[in-house]
């Protein structure tokens, strides 16, 4: 607990000492970290192959963007509505997908997500198609990097706390059991499909929150948020950090965003760097950075207590 407080304190003080660009990067890391954490609810804890998680991120972001620009809603209301739109998408898509086993779940989700992507891509008048929507009228207080940063920090901290409680609740424990052995769960009376569906909806909701925060930071949305490549990158973040740990995705997101931002300064080919890193990871460290570190640090299991 002490470590968490210290980390929070560091994050709060950060903008006071760091140059604006780094604050911006930190904010981006926070948003991406939340997105990765939301995926890990279903991936690491639920064992579900959510291949197109980016859909919910995009839906949340576009919902806010459209509510503000086309609907003329107050941004604050838009911020609240966005995640619910994403959760709704999660319910709809999830309902169709949880009836299938792992791989087919993933494929159906990709097809549904890609369908949504094509619609967003081509519906130029409404969604801005390829260009996306820009200069969204977010609240004035959030238009400075510092303002956006603190808002994002607050929401992300709350979200992560909520996710922690969820993972530690009976729902979370049962979800892990479903991941390990769905057949056994059925035999003890757990409705596996309902459980998975609820997990997908929760993950979608928080992905929507991340999407809303992205709009708060960038004041734009892009159609590639719904493109499968982004989704797979989020997947990679979870793997990179360690998907059996709670904080792993945060580490993964931080590394990926940092790499992209800073490696991008030195070479145009930072994607290659990510590719190489990914391959090395799979070959040598499949439990991810955090998973690996924890394994080294944790002492051997205690002897029988009697």
């Amino acid at each position: 607990m002490g470590r968490v407080v210290a980390a929070l304190a560091a994050l709060v003080l950060f903008p006071l000492i760091a140059p604006t660009f780094y604050v911006y990067v930190a904010a981006l890391i926070l948003v991406t970290a939340l997105l990765a954490m939301s995926l890990n609810v279903v991936l690491g804890y639920g064992g579900i192959y959510q291949f197109h998680h980016g859909v919910f991120y995009g839906v949340g972001a576009y919902a806010v963007a459209l509510a503000i620009t086309k609907g003329g809603w107050s941004p604050w209301i838009g911020f609240i509505a966005g995640p619910f739109a994403a959760a709704g998408a999660g319910l709809l898509i999830g309902w169709f997908c949880v009836r299938l086993t792992r791989l087919y779940f993933g494929m159906l989700q990709i097809s549904l997500g890609s369908l949504l992507w094509t619609i967003v891509l081509r519906w130029y008048p409404v969604t801005g198609g390829d260009n996306g929507i820009h200069d969204i009228a977010t609240p004035v207080a959030l238009r400075t990097v510092g303002g956006a940063y603190y808002f994002i920090l607050a929401i992300v901290a709350l979200s992560v706390a909520a996710l922690y409680l969820i993972v530690k609740s009976p729902f979370g424990t049962t979800l892990q059991a479903v991941r390990d052995n769905p057949q056994r769960c059925e035999a003890v009376g757990v409705d596996v499909r309902r459980h998975q569906l609820i997990a997908v909806v929760i993950a979608a909701y928080f992905a929507g929150v991340a999407g809303v925060l992205y709009v708060a930071l960038e004041r734009s949305v892009f159609s590639n948020m719904l493109f499968w490549v982004l989704s797979l990158e989020v997947f990679v973040m979870c793997l990179l950090g360690g998907w059996y740990t709670f904080a792993g995705p945060i580490v993964g997101a931080a590394i990926m965003v940092a790499l992209r931002t800073f490696a991008g300064r030195y070479t145009e080919n930072w994607t290659m760097v990510i590719g190489v890193m990914l391959i090395l990871l799979i070959l040598f460290m499949p439990e991810g950075v955090l998973g690996f570190a924890l394994q080294r640090l944790r002492p051997a299991p205690a002897a029988d207590e009697g």
Binding site: Y104, L108, S111, V236, T271, M272, G275, M277, L278
Partner: protein, 275 residues
Amino acid sequence: MILFVVSAGLSFVLGVLRVPNVFHGSLYMIGAFSAFSIATALAAHPGGFWVALLLAPAVAAAVGLIVERLVLSRLYHREHLMLILFTFGVMLILNDLVKLTWGPDYRSIVPPPALQGSFSLRGLPLPRYSVLLLIVGPLVAIAMWLFTHRTRIGKIARAAAVDRETVGILGIDVSRVFAIAFLVGCYLAGLGGALVAPTTSITLGMDHTIIIEAFLIVTIGGLGNMWGALIGALLFGVTQSVGLLIWPQFSIVFPYAATVIVLLLRPTGLLRSVW
């Protein structure tokens, strides 16, 4: 038809090696860019395009083989999720390598004079290049069928798809068969790219779009089933054409919608899958 060639390669690799090859799309792109280079280099010679059509896929196949021999073959026993992520990593690398080799601008080549223009079929224009594709597609299908049913290696590949361990116990060098099978799949990807090169602009984003379409086609056809890939590709192509007629702005929505409908009704694909 191009979709079929690419999807057939993906489906074959998926069926025999159980590898969902995400960088299959990158090989398609490499095939297109290689065709561009070869055709441009041989522009003075009359048969240049045909040479490109034969050699460009070989480039793609060579790249695929290098990856397979170096790293992929060590990973066959890992779970599918890891294979997907691994091949995704390779895709990222190949994408940048292509950018380094050919630069970020898009390229284009024109088909040879013999294939330009169109025939007239009862008053309807039939582009000559499309006729070529209509011939090549079934040729590929027949060639694949012959390969898997008539040659020794093909039959072993089919057996290995169903039961890898037993084939290994029989003393057959499974790894060599896998390498050859993978080579075939990659060649098909490159061939698709070479075939598509004259019809569209050759860009860096080609790999991203083609791979998702190929995967969806393979899934709706039945994983690992080549005839399924044919049906899937036809479905995809036809719905896109219909879309162009009815609602041009949203033409690409149609095939994706069709895919969704098929998967909702038959999640494991229209034909039997090897999995």
